[in-house]
């Protein structure tokens, strides 16, 4: 990479700060809409990290798929299910929080210890293919990773059909629980949900 080392370090620090603070915001903020938009910021910063690592194609794919598709999908889902509801308080929430936080901190310290103490066999940076990575990814995808590539296309097709099947409204002529004919209008009427808690 041709950027000076100081610039790289500044970019890396800013990007990782945005990633970590944004991720904390995604997890901790009260409003789910803010979380969704912060998640978009985190995805963009991760794409910036990929650019620092000389991977322009993956950075572009990250922006297109995560920011352009996944994040928009999440915002749509929030729009569809965003109903103000008072959550029932849980009795042992405090002990749960303490246990989960300690598990996460333990895992984090373990991972950081492995990161810092292990001796990585780093390769020679002169061998780096740098900007030709897009060409190399294309060669990989059409030679030794051809089968996973084709399976991925089947997986995407299955996901698409599965999402349609799961998310559409029932198009049966009779309601299962009541036996009454279902009206097939486009606008959803308020109806009694099938599985609400009776207790």
């Amino acid at each position: 990479m041709s950027i000076a080392i100081t610039t790289q370090i500044i970019c890396f620090s800013v990007l990782s700060l945005v990633i970590l603070i944004g991720a904390l915001g995604v997890v901790l903020l009260e409003s789910i809409v803010y979380s969704a938009f912060l998640l978009g910021g985190v995805f963009m910063s991760v794409a910036g990290l990929y650019l620092l690592l000389n991977a322009s194609f993956v950075a572009a794919a990250q922006v297109l798929v995560y920011v352009g598709a996944v994040n928009v999908l999440i915002i749509f889902a929030i729009m569809l299910v965003n109903k103000k509801e008072d959550l029932k308080p849980i009795s042992d929430i405090k002990s749960r929080r303490i246990i989960s936080t300690s598990i996460c901190l333990t895992l984090l310290s373990l991972l950081i210890r492995v990161d810092l103490t292990n001796v990585w066999s780093l390769s020679n940076p002169q061998n780096s293919i740098g900007e030709e990575s897009t060409i190399r990814i294309g060669e990989h995808l059409f030679s030794d990773y051809l089968l996973p590539f084709e399976v991925a296309s089947v997986l995407l097709l299955m996901a698409m059909i599965g999402a349609i099947v799961l998310a559409r409204r029932d198009v049966m002529s009779k309601d299962i629980s009541t036996g009454l004919p279902v009206d097939q209008e486009l606008i959803e009427k308020s109806s009694e949900p099938l599985l609400t808690n009776k207790n």
């Binding site: 990479m1 080392i5 790289q8 370090i9 990633i19 970590l20 991720a23 904390l24 995604v26 997890v27 789910i32 979380s35 985190v42 995805f43 690592l53 000389n54 991977a55 993956v58 794919a61 798929v65 996944v70 999908l73 999440i74 299910v81 109903k83 509801e85 959550l87 849980i90 749960r96 989960s100 936080t101 996460c104 895992l107 991972l111 950081i112 990161d115 810092l116 066999s121 780093l122 390769s123 940076p125 061998n127 780096s128 293919i129 990575s133 190399r136 990814i137 990989h140 990773y145 996973p148 997986l155 995407l156 996901a159 349609i164 799961l166 409204r169 949900p193 099938l194 609400t196 808690n197």
Partner: protein, 107 residues
């Protein structure tokens, strides 16, 4: 060790470890099902940062890590679509997205 010509590999690894742990914390502690899905996306991104850092520092001639990242992004997109569809049909049946009320499989 790497000469000080570039950012050390460990910096990327620490960022991805922290992001992964934040994702796990959110997964365990969220009440809202949409936020659980967002936490899963955070964890997948942490894994992707790890793969990209290793492919750039350890395997910078063949860059198989970048190909793996492409596949992870593909699977994450499929997972998000199916997960949100499941969430929608669950919401239609239970009229809530509270994780504590999805207890049909609890004995």
């Amino acid at each position: 060790m790497m000469s000080l010509e570039s950012i050390p590999l460990q910096a990327f690894l620490i960022v991805s470890s922290a992001l992964f742990c934040i994702g796990i914390w959110g997964l365990l502690n969220s009440r809202n099902a949409v936020r659980v899905l967002m936490s899963i996306e955070l964890m997948l991104n942490a894994v992707n940062i790890n793969l990209m850092a290793f492919s750039s520092y350890v395997d910078n001639n063949l860059i198989q890590g970048q190909v793996f990242t492409i596949f992870v992004i593909t699977v994450a997109a499929a997972e998000a679509a199916v997960g949100l569809a499941i969430l929608l049909s669950l919401y239609r049946n239970r009229v809530t997205v509270d994780m504590e009320s999805f207890n049909l499989l609890k004995w």
